[in-house]
């Protein structure tokens, strides 16, 4: 009963105190793709992705009613962080769906200038951004007018505010009403004014550099990486502990609030990488996730040591030095990566499941028909047999007085040969160790896919090679030769495919560069480089994130220049934007259900090449 009353009260009082139009809510999920295209078309950095952010606690001044309800403290604020532009997961602050939609587009337009507002001049900066956008996109002026009118209605009355906030609020309202107005108010980000829905905000998470300033010199060595929480694509607020001003708020003490989810633990969660549903629901319940950047109780280093020499694969040759693209320097740094070609240690003969073998047999039969064989070509000038059809046609034409003197009346047997070499490069990084369902891992699916791919292509008489790669920093990129171009697809190769296992990280650029070298010396007219991966380029160092993406993109473009056709097959959970950024819109395919990969891979090859 008490709970029921509580819920009713909560709904009543929050409805009273906050201005939200649930029935007019629009959510980012329905608009994500459109907004992403819009963002890029208006000039947004194509290397960035759009993501959603949840409500973020701000310290704005609240009305008495809001304090009573405990509401009004949370608001999702659009901001840039790392390689993402975060937008609220839902917008419902205006009374019509159309205006809420228009707000999404407006925020995206502001973001397309690729500026993150300066935290000490955020009013001025937003004013500048609005001016720029309105100048560049005159069509948005009418829309801005109606949005700003709606927004002004939601702003607190200046006279009701505490004295110290009045000047700021006046300036804000002026700027909203007329972005070209004169004002010279300078306020920090922490000022207690209600967030403006039409503006961008600085990232609520402090950057490493900013935090470093705050920390003592001796603590700096302990500095952990920036903590940003990405569960799914939703972003939660992470906050330093000492920021909160406990003075503003009205709390009726209730005993059960003692047992709360929100608590402070001195743990390093900066490397938290499990994407667990329970965590997701917990995070949804939380107001904030507290992340400490100070000393941690224990230091867990996510470094995967090399296996002992006894169990390790055999190094075939010393390092092959390969360059790497540094996107900030815009320079190809020579001899940056050392790549080792490795032979897999085969411990047991391949044992494929009955089902896999059956699937392989079926597909193999289909591919056998692709085998270069002798075919009858009709309508030839010379040939072994008369082509009756064309003779008929010729006779008819001649009777009508329009016959040609060069009738092609013969049929000839012809050998059709394909002028193509294919190299399949598979990502064998540790991420493939993840479970898909039951006891099947990503690597199992990749293993089966490689097996069936090999069976099919060898049945079709294609010229192909299969390789795999993994990396641990730039000094150690492992490249596994599963099948060379001149090797037969036999039990040795099958055993090698069977022996693949997850290893380290994904330094994709180096692997692509080496594969390019291998493929470039093939003497066929067409060269196809298939890259099979389950995620982004990634390594222990800076390779994670933009650097790795840019390096891989560079390697892919270089392969293209060599006359190769690179094509990526992704089995990532989501078809992320990075794929089209790295490989180009037409050169990748995302396979939604990874279980289908073994069947799809050979068929995909067929589609691509015929």
């Amino acid at each position: 009963m008490e709970e029921w009353v509580g819920v009713k009260w909560h709904h009543y009082i929050t409805n009273k105190s906050t201005i939200r139009y649930r029935e007019a809510a629009v959510s980012l999920k329905d608009f994500g793709k459109r907004l992403a295209v819009y963002f890029r078309a208006l000039g947004g950095d194509p290397g960035l992705s759009l993501a959603e952010t949840s409500d973020y606690i701000h310290s704005a001044h609240r009305t008495f009613l809001q304090k009573m309800a405990g509401s009004g403290v949370k608001q999702a604020l659009p901001h840039f962080h790392n390689e993402y532009f975060f937008l609220p997961n839902q917008i419902d602050c205006f009374p019509s769906k159309k205006s809420n939609e228009a707000l999404y587009y407006w925020l995206t337009a502001l973001a397309s200038l690729n500026h993150t507002p300066h935290k000490n001049h955020w009013i001025k900066h937003n004013q500048y951004l609005s001016q720029q956008i309105l100048k560049q996109w005159p069509g948005l002026r009418a829309r801005y007018k109606s949005l700003s009118r709606l927004q002004l209605k939601h702003r607190p009355k200046i006279s009701t505010l505490p004295k110290k906030l009045q000047a700021v609020e006046r300036a804000i309202q002026q700027v909203i009403a007329d972005p070209w107005c004169e004002n010279d108010i300078e306020v920090g980000h922490d000022v207690q004014s209600l967030p403006v829905m039409l503006w961008l905000y600085p990232s609520p998470i402090k950057t490493v550099a900013e935090r470093r300033d705050q920390q003592d010199q001796d603590e700096q060595d302990q500095e952990q990486k920036l903590a940003s929480k990405n569960l799914g694509d939703k972003k939660y607020k992470a906050e330093q502990m000492d920021d909160r001003d406990p003075g503003d708020g009205l709390i009726a003490f209730r005993l059960e609030s003692l047992f709360t989810w929100s608590e402070f633990l001195n743990l390093d969660r900066s490397e938290e990488d499990t994407d667990d549903e329970d965590l997701q629901s917990i995070a949804d319940d939380l107001d904030k996730i507290t992340v400490s950047s100070g000393k941690t109780a224990s230091k867990v280093k996510l470094d995967l040591d090399l296996p002992s020499a006894e169990y390790d694969d055999v190094v075939l040759s010393g390092g092959i030095l390969l360059p790497e693209w540094h996107y900030k320097k815009e320079q190809l740094i020579e001899q940056q990566c050392a790549l080792q070609t490795m032979a897999l240690k085969i411990t047991e003969p391949a044992q494929w499941s009955e089902q896999t073998q059956k699937q392989a047999r079926i597909l193999k039969r289909q591919f056998e028909s692709l085998k270069p064989e002798r075919k009858w070509l009709d309508r030839q000038e010379q040939g072994d047999e008369v082509d009756l059809n064309s003779f008929m046609e010729f006779s008819v034409q001649r009777f009508m007085g329009r016959g040609t003197t060069d009738p092609n009346l013969y049929r000839q047997l012809h050998q059709t040969n394909r002028d193509l070499s294919t190299l399949l490069l598979a990502d064998l990084s540790l991420s493939t160790d993840a479970y898909i369902s039951g006891d099947r891992k990503v690597i199992d699916v990749i293993r089966e896919s490689l097996y069936i791919f090999g069976e099919c292509l060898s049945a079709a008489g294609e010229r192909f090679a299969m390789t795999g790669f993994a990396s641990k920093l730039r000094s150690h990129v492992r490249y596994y030769q599963l099948k060379g171009f001149d090797e037969d697809y036999d039990d040795t190769v099958r055993n090698r495919v069977y022996a693949i296992r997850p290893n380290f990280y994904t330094r994709m650029g180096a692997a692509i560069r080496y594969a390019t070298k291998q493929l470039a010396v093939q003497k066929t007219g067409q060269k196809l480089l298939l890259i099979l991966t389950d995620g982004k380029p990634n390594d222990l160092d800076q390779y994670e994130g933009r650097y790795g993406m840019e390096d891989t993109k560079h390697a892919v473009n270089a392969a293209r220049k060599e006359g190769l056709v690179p094509f990526c097959i992704s089995v990532d959970i989501e078809p992320h934007d990075y794929l089209s950024y790295i490989f180009g819109g037409q050169s990748f395919v995302h396979i939604k259900h990874i279980e289908e990969l073994p069947k799809k891979l050979p068929l995909l090859f067929y589609q691509l090449t015929t």
Partner: protein, 270 residues
């Protein structure tokens, strides 16, 4: 398949807005008897350029749109039988050589490789065209010129121009003109005022940023001219843009809607 544009001195030159120095380059190629390869995205003015140049140089133009079934005899010519006797009919390439005209093979990668080979002796310094069927050997007069074009963006995995064929031509790369020039072109071609043309050109330059990422092809100058023409004939701006720009560029409804939003941001939605 073949069309011949004859030169009529009375009509003004086909309108062509020069972007760089392509007119001078082309003229000099013609004077020095070099074959030319034009590459560039669809609708950027390759065909218009060659028409313009043919008129400027006072040569007849033979245009062949290449396709997969194009054979060597389609280019060179064949024997026909009629009225109890046979006679030889020149193909467009042969006719161009005989008349000292310009022969333009559009989208040359679409043609089968073996039919492309017949033009090889015409593209080096021999400049000859042997006709096996009749035993004739034609020497191309100095006025004859061979021009081919292709769109590098099109290449699917197994189609493309052989590097050895590419090397036989002097190459000129075409792209969409810059905003100012494009606005001028759109305004002249569609007969709309420069302000509208400027807006359309600005819009196109933004949409072109989406190439390879969200769109296969970028908005061509031709599409802009279509849009401007529709607007001029009284179609509301946003309908015209949807029909002439957004819909032709993508079949994905999300992308189309996003493009419409970009247009609204540029041109206003009312």
């Amino acid at each position: 398949m073949t069309n011949t544009s004859t030169l009529e001195k009375s009509t003004p030159l086909n309108y062509y807005q020069e972007q760089n120095n392509e007119v001078e380059l082309f003229e000099s190629a013609w004077h020095n008897q070099l074959p030319v390869l034009l590459k560039g995205p669809t609708g950027c003015g390759k065909t218009r350029f060659i028409q313009h140049m043919a008129e400027k140089l006072g040569r007849k133009l033979y245009t062949v749109a290449c396709h997969e079934d194009l054979t060597a005899s389609d280019l060179i010519g064949r024997h026909l039988i009629g009225d109890g006797k046979t006679y030889w009919q020149d193909g467009p390439l042969t006719r161009a050589v005989r008349e000292g005209a310009i022969c333009y093979l559009d989208e040359v990668v679409e043609a089968r490789k073996d039919s492309i080979v017949v033009m090889h002796p015409l593209t080096d310094d021999r400049r000859i065209l042997p006709i096996d069927r009749t035993g004739e050997l034609l020497h191309a007069p100095p006025e004859f010129m061979l021009v081919v074009s292709y769109n590098p963006g099109y290449q699917n995995l197994l189609k493309g121009m052989k590097p050895s064929t590419k090397q036989r031509f002097m190459s000129m790369s075409f792209d969409y003109p810059n905003k100012e020039l494009e606005a001028e072109i759109v305004s002249k071609e569609a007969g709309v005022d420069l302000e509208l043309a400027k807006l359309l050109a600005r819009l196109a330059s933004h949409i072109r940023q989406l190439k390879d990422h969200d769109l296969e092809e970028s908005a061509s100058t031709r599409l802009l001219i279509y849009a401007a023409t529709l607007i001029k004939s009284g179609i509301p701006v946003s309908d015209a843009c949807r029909a002439a720009i957004a819909e032709p560029l993508s079949d994905d409804i999300e992308v189309v809607e996003a493009l419409m939003e970009v247009m609204n941001a540029q041109l206003g939605d009312d």
